[in-house]
C-alpha cells in the first residue's frame, strides 16, 4: 500500500465541506463581478475574481489594487462631525452602515436632538478634488429635495475641517440585500409590498425630476414590524441625476462613464441612451426578480451582464411557480424600452397594477 493512495493520503482536516465550515458559510454576491459565492471566515474572497486576476496577470490588474478603494482612515473614525458623534461598536470602531464610491455612511448620534442618524462622510481621497466635492454636494441636495415616507430623508449638510458630510434619517432594519440572503426567497406578498413602497418612493423621486440610477437590494432598507408588516425605504441617492442633465446620457463606450450596478441596470442605461424613471423601474423589476427567485436575472462578468440585459431573453419560466399577475409585474418592469416603450410609470399603471 506504500505506493498507493491510502486513507492516510487523504487529509480530512482540509475537507472543504466539513461540518464546521458549513455552519459558518454565507452566500455573497461579489460587488465586482456579480458572481455568487460561498464565503467562510477563512475564505471570504470571491473565487471568480481570484481566478480572473490570474488571467489578468495579477498585481498589474486594476481591480486587484487596494490603494484606490474607499477606505476610511483613522482620522475619519475619530472625528466628531459638528453635533453628530459617531457611534462605536464593541470593538471601539465606528459602526459602518455602508460605503460607496464617494464615501462611507456611519451610524451617528445627534447630541442636540438625542436621536440616531446616518452620517455620510466624503472619502478622504476626494478632499482635494473639487469636482468630486461638487458631486457629493449635489448628491446631498438631490436627496434632500425628496420628502417621502419611502425615501430616507437628508436634513443636514455640513463641513468639519476639510471634510464634507451630510446627515440623514437613520432607518432601522436591514438592507433588502441582507434580507434576501437571509431568506433566500421572499414570500410573494412581502416582495410585492416592498415593490409597492419602493414604487411610491420612486414616484416622489420622479416628482423632483430625478432618476435614482442605482435601485438595487443594497439601496433599499427594509424592516419587519410586529404583525408581519414590512416597510421599505430607498436610501443612497448617490447616483441620482436630474432629468435632462447631460450626465444622464452616459455611454459605456467611455471608460468609466457607466454609472450604476450592472446586475440591475437597464438596457438604456448601458446603451448610453437618455434615461428617465422607467430605467429605475427596470432595476426595480430586476430587484423583484431577485426577491422572488433568490438570484439576480443575469450573472457573470460586468460585460457579460450588460450584454445579457440588452440582448438576452429573461427566463420567465423561472417565475412559473408564481401566479401570473405577480410574474407579470416583474415582466412589465423588465420590459426593454425602446422600442416597446410600455414599461409603466411609477405613479400610474404600476401602482394600479399592484
Amino acid at each position: 500500500m506504500g505506493n498507493t493512495v491510502n486513507a492516510d493520503a487523504i487529509d480530512r482536516s482540509e475537507e472543504p465541506g466539513k461540518e464546521a465550515g458549513l455552519e459558518q458559510h454565507e452566500i455573497r454576491t461579489c460587488a465586482a463581478c456579480g458572481a455568487r459565492f460561498s464565503a467562510t471566515k477563512e475564505n471570504e474572497f470571491c473565487p471568480v475574481c481570484m481566478l480572473r486576476n490570474v488571467l489578468a496577470g495579477g498585481v498589474e490588474s486594476g481591480e486587484f489594487s487596494s490603494e484606490d478603494s474607499v477606505k476610511p482612515t483613522q482620522e475619519d473614525r475619530a472625528q466628531r462631525f459638528e453635533h453628530y458623534e459617531l457611534v462605536k461598536g464593541e470593538d471601539g470602531t465606528p459602526v459602518e452602515l455602508g460605503h460607496g464610491a464617494m464615501g462611507v455612511t456611519y451610524k451617528a448620534f445627534d447630541a442636540d436632538l438625542r436621536c440616531p442618524v446616518a452620517l455620510k462622510v466624503i472619502s478622504e481621497k476626494y478632499l482635494g478634488d473639487a469636482p468630486a466635492q461638487l458631486r457629493f454636494l449635489r448628491e446631498a441636495r438631490s436627496a434632500a429635495s425628496v420628502r417621502h415616507p419611502n425615501v430616507a430623508s437628508v436634513f443636514h449638510l455640513g463641513k468639519t475641517g476639510s471634510s464634507y458630510f451630510y446627515a440623514m434619517e437613520f432607518v432601522e432594519g436591514e438592507t433588502l440585500e441582507k434580507f434576501i440572503r437571509r431568506s433566500r426567497c421572499l414570500e410573494v406578498n412581502i416582495a410585492l409590498e416592498i415593490v409597492a413602497q419602493v414604487t411610491a418612493g420612486l414616484a416622489a423621486v420622479h416628482k423632483q425630476k430625478l432618476v435614482h440610477r442605482d435601485i438595487k437590494p443594497s439601496n433599499i432598507m427594509v424592516s419587519l414590524e410586529d404583525g408581519g408588516a414590512v416597510s421599505a425605504k430607498i436610501i443612497d441617492l448617490g447616483l441620482a441625476k436630474s432629468l435632462g442633465e447631460p450626465g444622464t446620457q452616459t455611454a459605456i463606450s467611455i471608460p468609466g462613464a457607466f454609472a450604476g450596478t450592472p446586475a440591475y441596470a437597464s438596457p438604456e442605461q448601458f446603451a448610453g441612451l437618455p434615461i428617465d424613471i422607467r430605467s429605475d423601474l427596470y432595476s426595480l423589476g430586476a430587484t423583484l426578480w431577485e426577491m422572488l427567485t433568490g438570484r439576480v436575472p443575469f450573472r457573470g462578468a460586468p460585460g457579460e451582464v450588460m450584454h445579457q440585459h440588452q440582448q438576452r431573453r429573461y427566463r420567465w419560466n423561472n417565475l412559473r411557480m408564481f401566479r401570473n399577475p405577480w410574474s407579470c409585474c416583474s415582466r412589465r418592469c423588465c420590459k426593454r424600452i425602446p422600442p416597446g416603450a410600455r414599461r409603466p410609470l411609477p405613479n400610474s399603471n404600476l401602482c394600479c397594477a399592484l
Binding site: V5, D11, P47, L51, S61, K71, G294
Partner: protein, 256 residues
C-alpha cells in the same frame, strides 16, 4: 525577494514531477515514482470526487470507500497507461474515469440483487410535478458542481502552499497579516498600511513591497497549480476560463 524566489524555486522539482503530463508519460513508461506523483495530485482533488459521489446519493461511508476504490482502480488497472491522447485535462480525465468506475460498480452491485437490471417503478406524475414545482429552479448538473469544487480545491491548495512557504521561512505572522490584501475586490475594509506596518515592525514602503510580492506569488502559485492539471501550459488560460464559468454557474453552492 531573493528568499521568496528561492522558496518558489524549491518547489519546482515537485511540480515538475507531479504535473499531469509528466504523470501520464511516467504511467505509460511505468517509470518508478509515478504512483506517488499521482497520489500527490489526487490528494488535492479528492474532495470534488467525494462530493460528486455524495451528490449521486451515496452515504458518506460509501462515498469514502468509492473514492479510495477509484484511486486504487486507477493504479491497479493501469488506467493511465491506456490513455491514448497525450493532450487533455486531468480534471476531465478524472471525472470521466470516475463516472465509468461508478457505472461499473453500480452494475456489479445491482447484479447481486435478484432481478438484475430490471426496474419496476411506479411514477406518480401528479405528485412528482407538485414536488417539482416546490423545488428551486436548478440548472446545475453534478458535472458543473464537480468543476466548481475543483476550482475551489485548486484555489485552496494555492493558498495553503503559499502559507506553507511563508511558514517555512518563519514568516507565518507576515502571511497572516498580509493575507487580507490578497482580496481582489476588497470585500471588507482593510486595515490601514500604517497599522499593519506597525504591527510587523516595518516601514509603510516596505509593507507595500511585501504586499505586491505576495500578490505576485499568489498569482504565480495559482497558475502553477493549474498548469499541473493540464497537459500543455498553453491551456492554462483556457482552463482558468473554464473554472471561472463553473464557479459562476455554481452560484455559491460550493463551500470553500
Amino acid at each position: 525577494m531573493k528568499d521568496d524566489q528561492s522558496s518558489l524555486a524549491g518547489g519546482v522539482n515537485r511540480f515538475q514531477t507531479t504535473r499531469w503530463s509528466v504523470v501520464l508519460a511516467s504511467a505509460r513508461s511505468e517509470a518508478p515514482g509515478y504512483r506517488e506523483a499521482l497520489a500527490d495530485l489526487c490528494k488535492v482533488y479528492w474532495y470534488p470526487l467525494y462530493a460528486f459521489i455524495r451528490h449521486r446519493g451515496s452515504s458518506p461511508e460509501d462515498a469514502q470507500d468509492l473514492v479510495q476504490g477509484f484511486f486504487l482502480h486507477l493504479i491497479e488497472y493501469k488506467t493511465l497507461s491506456r490513455v491514448d491522447r497525450s493532450k487533455g485535462k486531468f480534471r476531465s480525465f478524472l471525472l470521466a474515469s470516475l463516472q465509468n468506475y461508478l457505472s461499473n460498480e453500480n452494475d456489479r452491485a445491482r447484479c447481486l440483487k435478484r432481478g438484475g437490471k430490471a426496474e419496476f417503478v411506479y411514477i406518480d406524475l401528479e405528485k412528482a410535478e407538485d414536488r417539482f414545482e416546490l423545488e428551486p429552479v436548478e440548472e446545475l448538473t453534478p458535472e458543473k458542481i464537480f468543476d466548481a469544487r475543483w476550482a475551489i480545491a485548486l484555489l485552496g491548495e494555492a493558498m495553503n502552499r503559499l502559507s506553507r512557504e511563508y511558514m517555512a521561512q518563519g514568516k507565518e505572522s507576515t502571511f497572516r497579516a498580509l493575507r487580507a490584501f490578497l482580496d481582489p475586490i476588497n470585500t471588507k475594509r482593510l486595515p490601514s498600511h500604517e497599522e499593519v506596518a506597525a504591527q510587523l515592525g516595518v516601514s509603510v514602503g516596505s509593507l507595500k513591497t511585501q504586499i505586491h510580492r505576495l500578490r505576485k506569488q499568489y498569482t504565480a502559485t495559482v497558475r502553477e497549480e493549474i498548469s499541473r492539471t493540464v497537459s500543455d501550459s498553453a491551456d492554462v488560460d483556457m482552463e482558468t476560463h473554464a473554472l471561472c464559468q463553473a464557479l459562476i454557474a455554481a452560484e455559491g453552492w460550493v463551500i470553500p
